[in-house]
């Protein structure tokens, strides 16, 4: 495979979202290829989460467009998808990991059902296979098999986050959106989650767009980075380029503000 004939998986083109007169994000353009992890960094209110929601069809953009390559290799504009295609993306081909696992999990049903539900949504009906897949994914995210029938309410924050990831990945998505996936977790729990996310993305072809304000997380997980300020992308490049040779005053401030331990 050469770079030239390898087409991007997702292309954002002049993407913008206005809340009334206020800018959520503005004029955002970038391309994401299969297997890449892209970090979106910037301070609170810089438009990172708005951008993520526009990319993942949770918010309708005010301007611009997102193109996505379907499994049959057709590149389609997300606002022109058929209802069946849209459902396929939301339920199977994409994952969305929320900062608060309670938003991404159903807290009233067991851990196993949380994973199995996504499989059932794509037509799997065989109980044994669903339970088998749930057990396999619990193992991969390092949750003991004997916790399968527990409610996520009985799980710790770090376990809930790993369960949310398992629920998202059970359908074999090609793209996962993550909004501050390590936010609010202890550092030791964060390391475990980072290790898991690294194993899931490296070499598997899975792509991810990760919103984070934690530059250390971005450094360890992503290969490319975009920096947002006041809704706009002010700098982008390879993660080590942006962090070690930041060009913009705001990026320099951001990088120099990280405390060293």
């Amino acid at each position: 495979m050469t770079l030239a004939d390898d087409q991007p998986l997702l292309v954002a083109e002049g993407l913008g979202k206005l809340y009334g007169g206020r800018v959520g994000c503005l004029d955002v353009s970038f391309a994401l290829w299969a297997g890449e992890v892209l970090a979106i960094v910037g301070e609170s209110g810089s438009g990172k989460s708005t951008l993520l929601k526009c990319l993942s069809m949770q918010l309708a953009p005010s301007s611009g467009r997102v193109h996505y390559r379907l499994r049959d290799q057709r590149m389609v504009a997300l606002d022109r998808l058929s209802e069946a295609e849209r459902r396929f993306l939301m339920r199977t081909d994409w994952g969305f990991v929320h900062q608060d696992p309670r938003e991404g999990l159903r807290m009233g049903v067991s851990a196993g059902a949380n994973i199995g539900e996504r499989l059932m949504a794509v037509g799997e009906r065989h109980y044994g296979r669903i339970r088998g897949a749930a057990l396999d994914w619990l193992d991969r995210v390092e949750i003991e098999a004997d916790r399968i029938d527990d409610s996520p309410l009985a799980y710790s924050g770090g376990m809930r986050q790993r369960l949310q990831i398992a629920r998202n990945l059970v359908t074999g998505p090609r793209l996962v959106f993550m909004d501050e996936p390590t936010g609010g977790l202890d550092v030791s729990v964060q390391a475990r989650l980072l290790d898991l996310m690294r194993r899931l993305t490296h070499g598997s072809g899975l792509s991810a767009v990760v919103v984070t304000h934690d530059l250390a997380v971005a450094r360890l997980l992503s290969s490319r980075m975009i920096v947002m300020q006041a809704g706009r992308v002010i700098e982008s490049g390879l993660t080590d380029q942006v962090l070690e040779d930041p060009q913009e005053p705001y990026t320099q401030l951001l990088v120099s503000s990280v405390l060293q331990v």
Binding site: L3, R198, G203, R219, L220, R224, L238, Q241
Partner: protein, 231 residues
Amino acid sequence: MTISKLLEITNLCKTFRLHIQGGVEIAVFNGLELTLARGEVLAVTGPSGTGKSSLLKLIYGTYRAGAGRIEVVHRGSVIDIATATPRLIGDIRRHTIGSVTQFLRAIPRVPTLDIVAEPLLERGEDAAKAKARAGELLERLAIPPRLWHLSPVTFSGGEQQRVNIARGFAARAPILLLDEPTASLDPANRERVLAMIAEASAAGTAIIGIFHDAAARNQVATRTLALTSPP
């Protein structure tokens, strides 16, 4: 570029502008020229602050060139790193330029063997072969197998450096950048690393290294580039 030349730098300029410190400008290079052929070991020398590490980072694409060209032979064509897209630079790092930095950067919990094998996996090599190669290198650098399944985060400085060196050598890249590869090693391990550098060079790898230790430098370098502060 002729066939044996792997790297050619022309009129390289780099100035850092520190916006948050009153816009101070620090000029590092102003018209640097350099070529590197197969099998050469170029030692970059000069006092602190003359840009030795910066040169390696410019070649690796971590620092962005202000002006000039940094051309490498990548998969049979000549690519200018100074203007290459981030994605192309990523491909160059997978296939053409290996790097050993002074400090190991790793996610806690990732086993040493995986860290060393990773560059091979990233270029699509078979997992079993990649781990076997990683094991050979670790063994050669005297990291015993009982440590391979541990994260190197808790290793000593010298052990971490050897893990980093094993990772840098794993993919057998045609161009290798070494930033102080022997700095925190004891004499026996220093000799092991110098022997690996000499072997890679004999096999055609083009190497640029920073060696503070003059004896180490004299032992492996085929050429020296002395940097001075820009006027």
